[in-house]
Symmetry: C2
Subunit: 400 residues, 2 copies
C-alpha cells in the first residue's frame, strides 16, 4: 500500500483556500457561488483520484470508490462560516482525497451545510441518513437573510436532483479529521486528539417581555425593563451553572437583543440566544433542570416574564471503541506520546454518522485555539502528521 502524499495533500488544501479567499481564511457560505465553485473543484479532484463523483439535491458531494470493499467513508464539510478559517471542514474532506489518492478503498464525502447557514441543522449528514423530510426543506430558510432553502438550491442549480442516501452496510465506519477549535492540544504540547465523543448542543431562546417606555419619564419603581431582567437572569445562570455542570460542560450567551435598542428607550422585550454543551445526556438534563429553575425563580422575582424556547436538543454521540483504538495505535506509531483522547466540544457531521455506523474523529491542534474566524490556522507539520495517522488508522481498520 503506497504512503499518503502529504505534499499533494497540502497543495490541495492551499488550492481550495483560494476559492472564496478572505484575508488568510475563506468566505464560502453554503450555496454561494464560492461554495459551489469549491464543490465543483472537489468533484474534479475526486475524479482525478479515480473516484466516481456526484452531487446530490442538497449539495452533498460524494466520491465513490470504484473497486470492491470493505470500504470506509471519510470526509467532513466544505462550506465555511462567514469570513472564517480555511481548515474547518475543508481539512477532513481533503484528507479523504489524500487517502483515496493513496489507493485506500474509501468513499469521500463533503456533507452540505454543516455550518448551519440554513435553519435545518446538519442538512447534508442528516439527509444522508434519511432524517430530513421534504417538508423540512420546504420550511427551511437562511438564518441571516431569510432566503428559502428551496430558492437557494434552485439558484445553485441543485433543484430536482435526488438526495443521496448512505448505505451503512457498505462501510466499516466513518472517519472525520478536523481542527480542534480549542487550545487543549496546544497547551498540552500535543499534536493529535482522538475524539471520545461529540458533545450535544442544547440551544435555547429566552424571551422576556417588559414594557417599552421613555427612559426619562418612567421612574425606576415603575419600570418593567426586559433588558434588566435578562441581565439578572444571565448573571444568575453564570453563578449557578458551575454547581451543576460536568467537567467539560460549556455554556454560552451568543446574542442579547434588546428591543427597540435605542439609548433613551426602556427595552420592552429582550431575546437571548443561550446554549450549553456536554457529552453526557445526564449532565445536559441536569443543566436544563437548573435553567428551568432559574427561569421560574426569575419569574417569581421579576416583573418581566421570561419564556424558555427550546431551539434544538441533540443527542450526544460516542465514538466507536474499535475505530478509536485504530486511531490511537496509528497516533502512537507515528507520534509516540504526542496524542491524547479528548471529547469534541463542537458538533460535527460524525455525530450523525455515528447513528448508522461506527464513527470516530481525529483532531489536530488549532493555533491559539482560534476558529470560526479568518485567522484560524494549524501548523503544516501537524496537518501532514494528521493525514498520515488517518491513513494508517484506515489501513488498520480495513485490515481488521
Amino acid at each position: 500500500m503506497p504512503e499518503i502524499d502529504t505534499d499533494a495533500f497540502l497543495r490541495d488544501l492551499h488550492e481550495l483556500r483560494t476559492i472564496g479567499r478572505f484575508k488568510t481564511g475563506v468566505h464560502r457560505p453554503t450555496y454561494s457561488p464560492q461554495d459551489m465553485q469549491a464543490r465543483r473543484w472537489l468533484m474534479d479532484r475526486l475524479e482525478s483520484c479515480g473516484l466516481e463523483a456526484s452531487i446530490d439535491g442538497v449539495g452533498t458531494v460524494l466520491g465513490r470508490h470504484r473497486g470492491p470493499g470493505p470500504h470506509l467513508l471519510v470526509g467532513s464539510h466544505i462550506e465555511s462560516q462567514n469570513e472564517a478559517g480555511w481548515l474547518d471542514g475543508a481539512l477532513g474532506v481533503v484528507a479523504g482525497v489524500a487517502l483515496a489518492r493513496a489507493g485506500l478503498p474509501v468513499d469521500v464525502c463533503a456533507f452540505a451545510d454543516e455550518e448551519g447557514h440554513f435553519d435545518v441543522g446538519f442538512l447534508g449528514s442528516r439527509s444522508a441518513i434519511g432524517e430530513v423530510s421534504e417538508a423540512e426543506i420546504d420550511r427551511a430558510r437562511n438564518r441571516s437573510d431569510g432566503t428559502p432553502l428551496r430558492e437557494a438550491l434552485a439558484q445553485a442549480g441543485l433543484a430536482g436532483l435526488p438526495r443521496m442516501r448512505l448505505d451503512p452496510a457498505r462501510y466499516r465506519g466513518f472517519l472525520e479529521m478536523h481542527i480542534e477549535q480549542g487550545t487543549q492540544l496546544e497547551r498540552a504540547g500535543l499534536h493529535l486528539g482522538i475524539v471520545t465523543g461529540i458533545v450535544a448542543i442544547w440551544q435555547w431562546r429566552i424571551v422576556i417581555e417588559g414594557q417599552q417606555d421613555h427612559a426619562g419619564g418612567t421612574t425606576m419603581a415603575e419600570r418593567r425593563d426586559a433588558g434588566l431582567t435578562a441581565v439578572r437572569l444571565l448573571a444568575a445562570i453564570d453563578a449557578a451553572f458551575p454547581r451543576v455542570c460536568g467537567e467539560r460542560s460549556t455554556w454560552t450567551t451568543g446574542r442579547i437583543t434588546l428591543d427597540p435598542g435605542a439609548p433613551s428607550i426602556i427595552p420592552g422585550r429582550a431575546e437571548v440566544l443561550f446554549q450549553f454543551r456536554d457529552v453526557s445526556a445526564e449532565v445536559l438534563e441536569r443543566m436544563e433542570a437548573e435553567l428551568r429553575a432559574l427561569i421560574r425563580e426569575s419569574n417569581r422575582r421579576e416583573r418581566c416574564p421570561a419564556v424558555l424556547v427550546a431551539v434544538s436538543r441533540a443527542v450526544p454521540a460516542l465514538c466507536d471503541p474499535a475505530l478509536m483504538r485504530a486511531l490511537s495505535e496509528a497516533a502512537e506509531a507515528l507520534c509516540p506520546g504526542g496524542w491524547q483522547a479528548m471529547p469534541s466540544g463542537a458538533g460535527h457531521d460524525a455525530q450523525n454518522m455515528a447513528r448508522v455506523m461506527p464513527s470516530a474523529m481525529l483532531f489536530v491542534p488549532s493555533i491559539g485555539g482560534i476558529s470560526h474566524h479568518w485567522a484560524e490556522d494549524t501548523h503544516e507539520a501537524d496537518l501532514a502528521l494528521g493525514v498520515r495517522v488517518l491513513g494508517d488508522a484506515a489501513r488498520r481498520i480495513l485490515a481488521s
Copy 2:
C-alpha cells in the same frame, strides 16, 4: 383678549396626525418626506394665524408675531421618533399655534431634530442659541443609517439656507407644553404638571474586549467572553446604583450588542449603551464616580477589559420661578387642586432655551405613561385643559 379655541387646537392636532400616520401614531423621522410635509403644513398654519413663517438651514420653523412686544416664544418640535406617538413635540408646537390664533403676541417655533435622529443632539434648539458650529454639522450623521447630515439637509431642500439665531431680548421667556411621558400625573389623578427642572442625560458607551472563539472548543476556564463580562458589570451597576442615586434618578441600558452575535460563537466584543439622568449635577457626578469605580472593579476581576466612553454629559436645566408661578396660578385657576410641580425626566428643547431666557414647561398626562411608541395618547379633555392653562399663563406673564 379672546379665549383659546380648543376645538381648532384639537382639529390642528388631528390634521397633523395624518401626516406620516403609523397605526394610531406617526412616523416622521427628521428630514423624511413626511417630516418636511409636516413643516410645510406648520408654515401654512402659522401664516393663516397671522404670523410670518420661515424655515431655516437646519429645518427649524419659526412663526414670528408681526406686532409689537413684549413677546413670548412658544413651541417644541414636530418630527417624531420612528413609529412613535402623535403628541410628542407636535403638542407644544400646535399649542403655540393656538395661542397665536387667540391673538397673543407669541412667536411659535418647531426646533429641528429634538428627537436626535442625527448625532448632534438638540440640533434645532442648540443651533438657535448659537451652540452648533458648521464643522459639527459637517461631521454629523444619521444614527441609524449613517447618512451625513449635510446630505439629508440637501435632500430636504434646506442646503444653503441661513440658520435662525434667536434674540433673547425679544422675549419675556419660552414656554413648552409637552406630554409627561410617565405615569406620575395619571397615578396621582392629576391633569397638569408644572415642570421644576429638566434632568440632564449622561450617555455612555461601555466597550468590552474579549476573544472571539468557538463556543464548543473553548473550555469555560479558557474563555474571554466579552458578553459575560458585560452581564456581570450591568448586574453590578444595577445592585450599586440605588445606593448613590437621587430620589428621581433613572438609569437605563438601551442596547447590548455582542459581536458577532451568533449562537455558537463566544462574543469577542460587547458594546453597551448606558445612560443615567438627574436634575442635580451633584447626583450626576456621584453616579459617574460610581460607574467609574464599578468599571475599575470589573477590570480588576475580569479577563475582558472594559472602557467607558462619554457620549454626552449635559447640564441640568432649572425652570424659571416667575414663569412657573404664572403656570401654577393658571393651573390652579382652571383646575383647582388638579396639578403638581414635578421634574421632567426627559430632555426637551426648553433646557437649551433656559440657557438664554426664562423658560418653563407644562405637562399633560400620558395615558399609561406610554411614549416613544405609536400607542402614546392623552385624553382630549387634558389636551384642551392644557392649552387653556398655557394661554392663561402666557397672559399673566405678558401682563406682569
